[in-house]
């Protein structure tokens, strides 16, 4: 029932995010057809479809990937401190359930939602590409979705921790956004731009840019970096555990 409660709490945000990601990914696909038909590409020769999709959806720099990260921060809002702002924390805490279980339920449901959203652009591209006479390799789409799942879980857990630390409907997402901006700014220092230090940059892990597992000439992921992904997922679990620890010690 706690899982159902967590789903109820976040389902509107999740469904809006799903519709948004689906819509924006569809626009990206059909915009390629428009650019191709009227030869409106800014670069010559015009990029192939795989490069175009990677650059606009998976890469970064005004891409769908950045919107996905913002959506994940938005989904990360939750937890007992947020319930206190809504006045329902007293009811929840009077139930014969430990605070850990509340955090675990919200964390798991959130990570599942993030995973589902990770697949939305990939599935949309796969489904709509034939409609414009193009094709995108399913294996590539799946690999990017898996990269987004693991990395999205870490961003989600970070936002969830902010939500456990900072009370307020707007204060916690603003804190999460500020933390993300600080993190991104720090990693823009040139020393973090090259392998292996760039594996600390979760944005790069998601896009594959500058990574040994990504081949820029074909815009393809050669093999998934399972070790890195397990570490990032471990970071997400650690951040959720920290949220639980913080929640355990709080007064409501």
């Amino acid at each position: 029932m706690l899982y159902l409660k967590s789903w109820h709490e976040s389902r509107i945000r999740f469904l809006l995010s799903l519709v948004f990601l689906c819509g924006i990914s569809s626009c990206v696909v059909f915009y390629f057809a428009y650019l191709h038909r009227y030869d409106r590409f800014r670069t010559h020769p015009s990029p192939d479809y795989a490069h175009y999709i990677w650059a606009v959806i998976f890469k970064g720099g005004n891409s769908v990937r950045e919107m996905f990260v913002l959506i994940v921060l938005f989904l990360g809002m939750g937890g007992l401190l947020r319930e206190r702002a809504h006045g329902t924390a007293a009811f929840s805490l009077a139930l014969p359930i430990s605070r850990w279980r509340f955090v675990v339920a919200r964390g798991l449901v959130g990570i599942l939602e993030v995973s589902a959203l990770s697949f939305v652009p990939a599935v949309t591209v796969l489904a709509l590409s034939p409609a414009i006479g193009q094709s995108f390799p399913p294996a590539q789409a799946t690999q990017f979705a898996i990269l987004w799942s693991a990395c999205g879980a870490a961003f989600f857990a970070g936002a969830f921790l902010c939500s456990a630390l900072v009370e307020g409907e707007y204060a916690s997402p603003v804190t999460a956004l500020s933390a993300l901006a600080l993190y991104s700014l720090t990693l823009s220092i040139s020393v973090f731009g090259k392998y292996p230090l760039n594996t600390l940059n979760i944005h790069s892990v998601m896009s594959g840019e500058g990574m040994p597992y990504f081949r820029p000439e074909t815009a393809q992921v050669i093999a998934l970096p399972w070790g890195t992904l397990i570490c990032i997922f471990g970071l997400a679990v650690g951040l959720l555990a920290l949220s639980a620890y913080v929640t355990q010690r709080q007064d409501f």
């Binding site: 029932m1 109820h8 809504h86 329902t88 007293a90 009811f91 805490l93 009077a94 010690r249 007064d251």
Partner: protein, 298 residues
């Protein structure tokens, strides 16, 4: 359960920075009775209740509820299986319907009584398909009461239950509490509405500035406490009751008012012997005791 007491605290203290919301609170709530927890706004009632339920961690001191330590997370969780709580603002999950809210709560209690749930649903006329967010505060209170009472809890704790309710809803609420007490549930409720407490409580704990300053059995209050009003034809002698152990003494010009617990005959005799022209004995109300007790401790 720990003997005759459902709730016991020993020097329970809660500090928020330098502010002490609850100061060395020693509270005893007897089982199978209705106990009112009376105090002005900010007296520490809600903080005390939150500490009892493990929502807020005590800064020092200890306490037990149904024999379980409140500062031990596991014991507190066990205790909450047997305790129902209705919070001050009665906020429930706005995004659920009444039916979903009932189903959600039911899933955590093995001793849920479906027949009580159905009876209360009918009695309170709660619309099953309505979202909680669209319920009035009165309806929300009824739903919160249903969720609390459908489990036959050993102890029901309510924080300002009648707050912002209309008179008809207050009446229904008080009736529900009396019925629950009749079925053996211990009731502990905080309030600053003296009239309500006086109407249904067997016992009253008065809290002021985070401390228990009065613990009264209301039957004893009605039977033993008396107010003696003595009128004089001249100025009241300043030492009139000075050597007597009285609950309250007020002297205004030619009139002296004394509140005594067991000693009304002696107080009257003293007044007559000092030259009083009339001496009247009146029952004492909880309001008078409360105001005097909190004034004395301010």
């Amino acid at each position: 359960m720990s003997g005759d007491w459902s709730i016991e605290t020993h020097d329970l203290t809660k500090r928020f920075g330098r502010y002490e919301a609850v100061r060395a609170l020693n509270l005893k709530v007897p089982s199978h009775q209705i106990t009112g927890f009376l105090g002005n706004n900010g007296a520490g009632k809600s903080t005390t209740i939150k500490m009892l339920l493990g929502m807020t961690h005590p800064s020092s001191g200890s306490g037990t509820v149904l024999g379980r330590r409140i500062d031990d997370a596991r014991e507190n969780r066990e205790m909450r299986r047997r305790v129902a709580y209705v919070s001050e603002d009665k906020q429930l999950y706005a995004y659920l319907t009444v039916e979903e809210m009932v189903r959600f709560t039911r899933s955590f209690y093995e001793d849920w009584r479906t027949e009580t749930e159905q009876r209360l649903l009918r009695q309170y006329q709660l619309p099953l398909d309505r979202k909680v967010r669209s319920l009035s505060k009165g309806m929300r209170t009824k739903l919160a009461l249903l969720l609390a009472l459908a489990r036959r809890p050993e102890l029901l704790i309510l924080d300002e239950p009648s707050d912002a309710l209309d008179p008809a809803s207050i009446e229904e609420l008080l009736q529900a509490l009396v019925t629950a007490a009749g079925e053996g549930t211990t009731i502990f409720f905080s309030s600053h509405q003296i009239g309500e407490v006086e109407r249904i409580a067997d016992r009253v704990c008065i809290v002021n500035q985070g401390q228990v300053v009065g613990d009264l059995n209301l039957d004893q209050l009605r039977e033993n406490y008396r107010k003696i009003v003595a009128s004089f034809s001249r100025e009241v002698p300043s030492d009139l009751f000075s050597d007597m152990d009285l609950e309250q003494v007020q002297i205004h010009g030619r009139q002296a008012v004394a509140v005594t617990k067991h000693d009304s005959d002696n107080v009257m005799a003293r007044a007559w012997s000092a030259g009083a022209v009339s001496v009247d004995v009146e029952p004492v109300s909880l309001r008078e005791i409360f105001l005097e007790t909190t004034r004395r401790n301010d």
